[in-house]
Homo-oligomer: 196 residues x 2
């Protein structure tokens, strides 16, 4: 199977080169030529892996999502109190370091790009909405939600709050640093849960 593995590996390397180009030059710079140069391969060779620029961009965007989903999964599997797990997942969704800030920047660039191209955007299936729904459901299952909390509304509010915090943390990282974000998320969790 080495051939298959190499192929997937190569596609990932090309996707990572795509992110770097977007961070440096924005979406306008994300041409097949520039991305091939950054990945140190020929444009023809890149076209062997991706039939079109759009295919490549969609793959690179999905990989951002998959990476975030994998990190969330690994937090969710940890043997920690439910509060720590909820907080840990939420902290994966708001950029608090260089790496996740870059990821978020690429994500916003993709979102704006696909929107401008009038391609549909499926919010219900972006990783963030699913992540917050998972948190609310899990807290409910453990009987930690306060009486009267409406699960559907709370998931929608938390989804908005997380994307808002992510946007603000990206635009203004000095003001919204990790400590402040952690305090805000703890404050939020206290407002909907009664932890023992």
């Amino acid at each position: 199977m080495p051939k298959l593995i190499d192929h997937e590996q190569r596609k990932k390397q090309i996707a990572e080169a795509t992110w770097r180009v977007i961070l440096e030059q924005g979406m306008e710079g994300a041409t097949v030529r520039n991305i091939a140069k950054e990945a140190d391969i020929s444009p023809g060779s890149l076209r062997h892996d991706f039939a079109s620029q759009e295919d490549l961009l969609l793959y690179a965007m999905n990989l951002v999502k998959e990476n975030a989903a994998a990190r969330i999964e690994s937090v969710a599997m940890q043997d920690m109190p439910p509060r720590e797990i909820a907080l840990g997942i939420l902290l994966e969704l708001v950029p608090t370091n260089e790496e996740t800030r870059a990821e978020m920047e690429v994500w916003f660039a993709f979102t704006a790009y696909f929107r401008k191209k009038r391609l549909s955007f499926d919010a219900q299936h972006d990783g963030i909405y699913m992540g917050v729904q998972h948190i609310i459901r899990q807290l409910d299952r453990l009987h930690l939600l306060k009486k009267g909390v409406n699960k559907d509304m709370e998931a929608e509010m938390l989804y908005a709050m997380i994307d808002g915090l992510a946007l603000h943390a990206l635009l203004d990282p000095q003001r919204l640093n990790k400590e402040k974000i952690t305090n805000l998320l703890n404050h939020y969790l206290d407002s909907i849960c009664h932890f023992e």
Copy 2:
């Protein structure tokens, strides 16, 4: 004073032409040439009002903010119960119709553009943060906030939530229509206030 009035009027017309160009073609299309064409004046005449493209873009962005601030002001001055005023202001900050959706789209385009140009973004002074602070302070003054509500944290949370809702309403207006947004905002107000 007719000359002065005409001058301000003209600048506003040029700013509005700028918004239309951005909505049609994105920020890449917002060149002096394209904007002059949309405003039906010559590029030289446009340069008479704005020394540079950046001056024009900053003016056009500020006008979005001023328009929103004026709408908020007029809601805040109305003779209505505090809950209705708070809800009315929040509804001005989340796009629920074609006009405010266009405004928000232009705002996001400007934000992304100035960020890419590495120009500083001053979140503390965008109209939204000031709007939510005003709401929280006002509810506090009227003794409507629930016990234990932390005003600073609540303003920060509400700011994130409003920008998140605005982003989601822009990306997915079918799902997040005016009724749903109104329900969410009412739900939020109930969570921090005890209205009689």
